[in-house]
Amino acid sequence: MFALAQAQYTLTGVVRAADTHEVLPGASVAVPTLTAGTATDANGSFSLPLPAGEHQVVVSFLGYQPVTRTITVRRDQRLLVELPPAANELGEVVVTGSGTLEQKLQTTQMSVEHLTAREAKLLPALFGEVDLLKTLQLKPGVQNGGEGTSGLFVRGGSSDQNLVLVDDAVVYNPAHLFGLFSVFNPDAVQSVDLYKGGFPAQYGGRLSSIIDVRLREGSHEKVGVSGGIGLISSRLAVEGPLAKGKGSFLVAGRRTYFDVFTRAINKVNEGSADYSPIPDYYFQDLNLKANYQLGRKDQVFLTGYYGSDVFGFQSDGGFNFNFKWGNTLGALRWQHTFAPRLYLNTTASVTRYRYNISNALDEFSFDLASTIRDLSLRSDLEYHSADNRHVLKAGAALTSHTFGVGRLQAESVSNLVNFGADVNYTGLEGGLYASDNFTINDKWQLDYGLRLSGFHSGSDTYGGIEPRVAARYTLSPTLSLKANYALMYQYIHLVTNSGSSLPTDIWYPSRLSVKPQRSQQVATGVSWLLGGGKYLLTNEVYYKWAENQIDFKDGAQLFANNDLDSEFLFGKGWAYGNEVYLEKKEGRTTGWIGYTLAWTKRRFPPQRGTTGINNGDTYYPTYDRRHNLTVVVLHQLSPRFNLSGSFIFTSGAATTLPQGRFGFQDVLGGNNNAVAVPLYPNRNTYRLAPYNRLDLGLVYKLRPRHGESDLTLSIYNAYNRRNPYFIYFDRLEDPQTNQTTGYRARQVSLFPTIPSVTYNFKF
């Protein structure tokens, strides 16, 4: 007599949104009667082992209506599900969606934040400009660099230690206007994942974070136009199907236009006495995404981005200053499905970041430029075992970097003056990895992997082994413990000596005295599902230590320097802290509260003929902020009104203020009067006042005849707090004699209360 064992088959498929036909990563696919379930991956695909028989499969995702399908499993099967949205795309707070908090509880992946453009669009924004990177700054463990900047300092890491990817292509400077806005157009973005620790083995090359941005694919059904008109910029996006629904495309563009206003203001003021023209500034960017289904097993995706910032200034004295910078990138990905549980993604990408400063004054012109260009190829294989207990990943990546560092060209019309300097470096960076996400039993899950990375730059070769481990132990259905460890190498460095991200910061390869940066991070945490699954409370403690950190010597000569590495100093960094995070994702009121207590320190000992930084003593970088509290609340007042508010409190930034001064006369001919020269002692020993701010937002859904539209109102800094941007010292003068009578400390703030209105539409 034979006892037939229950045959196991695999149900695979893709979950998409019914309205836009976009894939839905992170959607829940479950069979409640079997207590079996899984979540869709970044491509919206899932794989679920099921026994033969009839089953009810429930597919759900935040913001969409759940769909139940009854299927009869007799062999490996494919299921394509489309979820209708719970409400319209624009402006409704997400309502039901079982399982998302539960998934967060169950996954081994900790130290990660997931943000969708839909969520970001509901939050109040500076000047009404929705910004995903700035929204990430509202999550615990993520510090912003300064008022209005979008540079991210994750767990004490500097802003160049973030790997910013757009569909697997690297973005070198994700900021417009010195960090005031990020380069990501929310109309084009599907979601952003921010990894703060526990980095999966497929990522490498930066120490502190991975920011993985995925663009939207565009609707497969019909052509749609959407956009918005705002206070300082406008956006327009067009999407639609390709080849009768076999593919789709999305093109989204943005441009600011306050240069139009400033030029008008300049024209009006031209005649007046103390006329000083307001400089021109604008930025524009363009995103493109297209995909096409080649066959049952193959799909190709194309991504493109072009952005540029222009800052120009012209004076009557014939002085012409033009500063231009931007990223351009393109990526082509081919996804091939070998079998229901085995697929391969191969991506080729190119990215370039450059800036150019040109000065012209009468006969003389002076140009400064810097570029970094990458050509990259990577291949990633993913395999889900039949019993779904293993998810194996393996892959390889190779990038060719070209660095054009500090190119200088000075000339005069009559060619009396003509000289230049141009330094170019190249580097080849590679990585090889393998990892396994192993569900050992119903209590233990382990994700372990190894990455081998290397870098070759002309004269030198470097390499490293990067182990990555993460574990999860389920104490109960509502409580799990997690821990992770990651070792990271970084081979290219952004050399900057300021706290903000300036477009003139230089990307530099490891070579000669510049060794690769290296960091190790351990983190451990507890996740607790409360209130019947409505709230998730997470507490995470981390410790990170980094070597071969880079900074500049005082008074370093950055341009026209064929020997730039001699200007660098090397040191160590440490960061440790605790992050507490409470979030609610369902219901009419959603949001989160995050509190981080963190320390960041650096030490650069005496070296290379200098006394090091801060005389070799441990010091705090400017972005060391002891306490960081954010409270974000979104509330659906009625089907047409959504309210949101966010409150931020951070301890003051560290800064260097002068201790003393001395009088300097200079030689005959130099200064007419003696001047006071400040003396700066140790670095960053002074703390600015704490930063706090309340932003309020309101989204009001209109009822137009065609399509959808809404009005988004935003109030930035609602109670008009004068947050310190920097402190300087002003000279007090006797009005009659013009003699200096003393000095006074003054604090400058950047933004008062700023209200804004944006009109968004969609057809």
């Binding site: 400089p279 000289f419 300021s498 001395f662 030689v667 003396l679 700066y680 703030s749 950047l750």
Partner: protein, 281 residues
Amino acid sequence: MRYFRHRRVAGLLLSMLAPTLLDGCGSLQQDIDVVLPFGPSQLVVEAYLEPNALPRITVSETQPYLAPVELPIVTDATVVLTRANGIHDTLFYAPDIDRVTRKAYTHIGRRRLTARPGDTFGLEVYDTQGRRLTGTTTMPAAVPIQKVEWRFNNETGEQRKAYVLTTFQDAAGIGDAYRLMVHRRFLTRDPEVEYTVQDRLTDGQSITLGTSYDFNPNDTLIVSLFHLDTPYYNFLQSVQDARSANNNPFAQPSGVKSTVTGGVGIFTVLSVQRQNIILRE
């Protein structure tokens, strides 16, 4: 040519943004009280030696930044200058303001200085409080001005302006710097044009420094070319950086690079060439 340094680019950018940002919202600046810790006061010296002139130096001390503005004269300092031939010369304490140049000096020597390029001098300043400052310097080679030319633009009347070109031969070896100043009529006025360049890219070559269309026909100008050695150049740059770091949130303030130890300041031998020109058509 101005070599825009990293921080100065940022400073320039901010100084352009600042009027926009601060004008419309004047109340975004506010006075605050800060407590600035001040360590012990240090000796400050400005000593520019000139060949064939009496050595005159200025000794003062550092003060807390927010201290009331008053002349920090050090009354008990002794200054010893070691000449090129090894003789120690104690300077006299005689605080005075030169009527012509309007510069203040505290100590003066009695014998004129003989200095040739390559001569090394030493300085020692000490006071009764136990503070002691020392320094050495070597006179740089003389770099004569080869020629000064001027070109007019094509305008007439009020719009007719000229720029001035100064040509000289860079001394061999990297590490030289040059400070160009152009004054209208008097050296005691603020210069019309003033900047400093290094010879990093133009070592040993003929260098031409220019100005913009700043000058009118028949202007009487004094062109001064200072030849600086690397320590003096670093001192001037660091003083400028420290002063501009005050208003610049992007800058990383750094210390002044004195050429003396035990205190703050500059001890150097001036190598300057001047030429008077009248901008005739």
